[in-house]
């Protein structure tokens, strides 16, 4: 009887999370995949960078779905922190440590282009570090709330 009640409670908590995850996953996919596709055709990007783009879409959608799925639990924050760390590693890989090199085939001779995006990479890393700091505060708050609720006296 108790087990049945637990299952019901779990389902009641899980169904909204699944719906939320599906909705946010779809919105994120539309925002990070379809919108850039409409604005800038990926065929114009070099193959290496179009692959990086698909990896970015994968990371973003996966972490959006998984954090919404575990919303309201400590795992939500754990995944948020993992996302920030994965994004930092991903950005360093995409930006090749800050210097982007491209070779554009031209009629007379290929043109080599190098752009030093170290400043942009530093700002992007900073944003993700701020995200980690925010998540750490959220974890502290979450644990504090949990401790508080466990120490509350039983209603008589």
């Amino acid at each position: 009887m108790v087990e049945k009640g637990n299952k019901k409670g779990l389902m009641r908590r899980l169904i909204p999370n699944v719906l939320k995850a599906a909705l946010w996953g779809t919105i994120t996919f539309l925002f990070v995949y379809f919108l850039p596709m409409l604005l800038y055709p990926m065929e114009l990007l070099p193959i290496e960078y179009s692959q990086f783009f698909y990896v970015f879409v994968g990371i973003t959608v996966f972490f959006t779905v998984i954090t919404k799925l575990f919303s309201g639990t400590i795992l939500e924050h754990a995944f948020n922190m993992t996302r920030a760390l994965v994004m930092i590693i991903y950005l360093i890989a995409v930006f090749h440590g800050g210097i982007i090199r491209l070779t554009m085939p031209m009629e007379e001779a290929p043109v080599n282009l190098a752009a030093d995006l170290t400043a942009i990479l530093a700002i992007l890393t900073l944003v993700n570090l701020l995200g980690i700091a925010k998540t750490m505060f959220q974890i502290t708050e979450f644990l504090a709330k949990k401790t508080e609720s466990s120490q509350l006296p039983e209603p008589q």
Partner: protein, 251 residues
């Protein structure tokens, strides 16, 4: 705890907004950048030739372009540097148009050091390196290596069969002017037989337009008795921009 989380959230959103706005406007600015090239022109200078490449930069974007530096180095087919030229534009402000010319000086003394360039077609490598600072935040570098064919002014210089009369000889001479400039001046020549005895000395004027074949016969008084079936002709080509000598066998 909540205010700290909110503050961090707001800071993150603000930085993202700034980054997205910068990325979009930077992309738009790059697309609005108008680069134009004028007709390349050659000018004679006291030391050689100046190749002038006029260009214009119309910056109708949102960001300045600073420290635009164009460096061109010309190397011959052996990799020897013949010339290095720089053009520096300190600032192309947003909404402005800058017109400049990149002048490449080719000193003929350098070309003369490699005398083969006057008699054999070859190629030069134009190594161009462009660096600039976009929005004072993103340094950008462009480089390209363009092989440029070089046409020799006296390509395929050859002496035909020498005809002789009683007291004179006729030296048939031909070459192709593959260069981009007309050749005017004089040809001085000394004819030697196979035992290196001087047979005849002569001179003729020279006017061969660019991309034209020179074919002529130079008549000169000679000691015909010393003429042998083979030998050598010593040429001295004197033009307003250079003078060069060359030994060519005959027979």
């Amino acid at each position: 705890m909540k205010p700290a989380i909110r503050a961090l959230g707001i800071a993150t959103i603000m930085i993202w907004i700034i980054l997205i706005v910068f990325a979009v406007t930077a992309l738009y600015s790059v697309m609005k950048l108008g680069i134009g090239f004028g007709e390349p022109q050659f000018f004679p200078s006291s030391r050689g030739i100046v190749l002038s490449l006029p260009f214009s930069l119309n910056n109708s974007g949102y960001y300045d372009i600073s420290k635009l530096n164009i460096t061109t180095s010309i190397t011959d087919s052996n990799g020897t540097t013949l010339s290095t030229s720089d053009t520096f534009v300190p600032l192309v402000s947003k909404g402005s148009n800058v017109e400049a010319a990149h002048n490449i000086t080719i000193e003929l003394s350098d070309v003369m050091e490699n005398i083969g360039l006057l008699f054999n077609d070859s190629f030069f490598m134009f190594d161009t390196f462009v660096s600039l600072n976009f929005a004072r935040l993103v340094p950008v570098q462009l480089s390209m290596n363009i092989p440029v064919p070089w046409g020799a002014p006296f390509h395929n210089l050859s002496v035909g069969e020498i005809q002789s009369n009683n007291d004179s000889i006729a030296v048939p001479l031909s070459f192709e002017n593959h260069s981009f400039f007309d050749i005017t001046g004089t040809i001085e020549l000394d004819v030697y037989n196979d035992v290196n005895e001087l047979i005849a000395t002569g001179e003729t004027s020279l006017a061969t337009p660019s991309q034209q074949l020179y074919g002529g016969q130079i008549d000169m008084p000679a000691d015909v008795s010393k003429l042998t079936e083979s030998g050598r002709v010593h040429f001295i080509f004197v033009t307003p921009i250079f003078a060069v000598e060359r030994w060519v066998p005959y027979g």
